[in-house]
Amino acid sequence: MTLELSARDRSMLDGEQGLSAVAAMKILVAFSNAVGAGSLLDISGAHIDGCLYHGKAGLDFVERLVEGGGRVQVPTTLNVGSFDLIHPGMVKMSATEEAPARRLMKAHLELGCQATFTCAPYQTRFRPEFGQQIAWGESNAIVFANSVIGARTNRYGDFIDLCCAMTGRAPAWGLHSYDNRRGRILFELDIAETEPNDSLFVGVGLIIGQASGDRIPVIAGLPRPRDEDQLKALGAAAATTGAVALFHAVGITPEAGTLDEAFHGHAPEETVRVTRADIDHALARLSGVQDGALLSAVSLGTPHFSHEEWMRLLPMLRETAPARGIPIYVNTGRATLTRLQEEGALDGMEAFGLIPVADTCTYVTSILERLDGVVMTNSGKWAHYAPGNIGVTVAFAEMKDCIRSAAIGHVVRGAS
């Protein structure tokens, strides 16, 4: 297929809008040809997953765009970096590693990106609206934007998300078009759940991620979520065990009012029945230890804790009042943190071991003081990646069990 370019696309390629625009458009054109897109479309925003330092090539790329005088053409948010710029000294890193990692975050700001440094850009004022075309990186943000909001993005990543931002354009293919958003595989939940707890949503996410492959999953029988954070947890888990960029939950998500709407009137290609036992099995695999194991830390907020989640956590902390000095790390966006500080909501909370972490995440960089014991989390994503990334042993549990365990000093879960 030949790629059709607009006059403005061509002027970027021809260098009329600066050297950085030439580079970004050239790469975007090559990418579009590789995916077989017929044209480019306008985007209203971008989210860049480029601030974690993975090597010199990534930094060289951004520096070249800065040198070329480039600016992003649409409102552009940034994903987490390797540093907590709000709390200096939190991240332990050698000076030789630190310099390029810090520079990478700063170079993105010089391109005009917003200093959000959050994996939950949907919690910021840059949250897109239903039907908007966007180019987002970061797997949990992508699945949230598509599924929960009904904005449209493909799974963008490394380099190409920034090329979309620098040109304000994205290839017209995949999930940008309505026809490609139809459900393909049906998951029928066969569970008698009166109170939908957080781990149910994580468990469903783990299962659809594993079984969907490249087919868009539709979930029927999902209990009505308490809030969007439960759907955030579901999507993050699905994008962890699989490559899910969009899911539909019948009667819950905006493009799935009915089963028929979710499948665009077609029949599912496959139907999978999901029982309570399947969910328990998936969740059990997230934990490397039994109840009773000694606890060294708690990590919450992967993806970044929302203001609503803080409002659930803080009363729990006051009530349980953990006093054993076990750190309770909570990853959150800097905008959320600022709001909490303005509200005075965090005053005195450090006595319970609370350590807010902004701009980064406890599993991508060295923050945790102790890696020898067990770390408890309510995040399916953290539980999946942390053992490989930072070498900890994980116990997965509901948030209230994490806090209770911090008070007791060892892992306790459920009614025990």
Partner: protein, 155 residues
Amino acid sequence: MIRPVEVVERSGTFQLVGTAEGQTLVFSQPLSFWGGIDAETGDIVDHSHPGLGQNIAGKILVMPSGRGSSSSSSVLAEAIRRGTAPACILLERPDPILAVGAIVAEFLYAISMPLVVCDIAGVVSGERIAVGVGGDGAAIVRLQPAISPAAPRRQ
């Protein structure tokens, strides 16, 4: 009887144009660069991949497709920068993630690692392959089978 070395020519499509020559390393299972390749050495480090322990540097890497995370773009670009990348990658299906890594590396370091989509059926590890550019911009892939005098094929 001495038989002239048989050279087979196939035509393909460039995802990134260039010329290359080298020995093939063929996998029927796609390899993810992120988590699968050590960019410092070019070693395959994916424990679930049959190529574990082999090295891709300077080889003509042949596989059905790319796989996995978009972070593979960065790993490929970094490997090209360090000189630990393949000389060329032949795929059966186009892969946007590998294409981006190769394009960015060429843009930054002026090092070309051609990426070709073509029929890979029958290509085996150890053959010599030369990739060139045809008159119409198509990729010309010349395969020269490894000489194995122990098992001469009948005419």
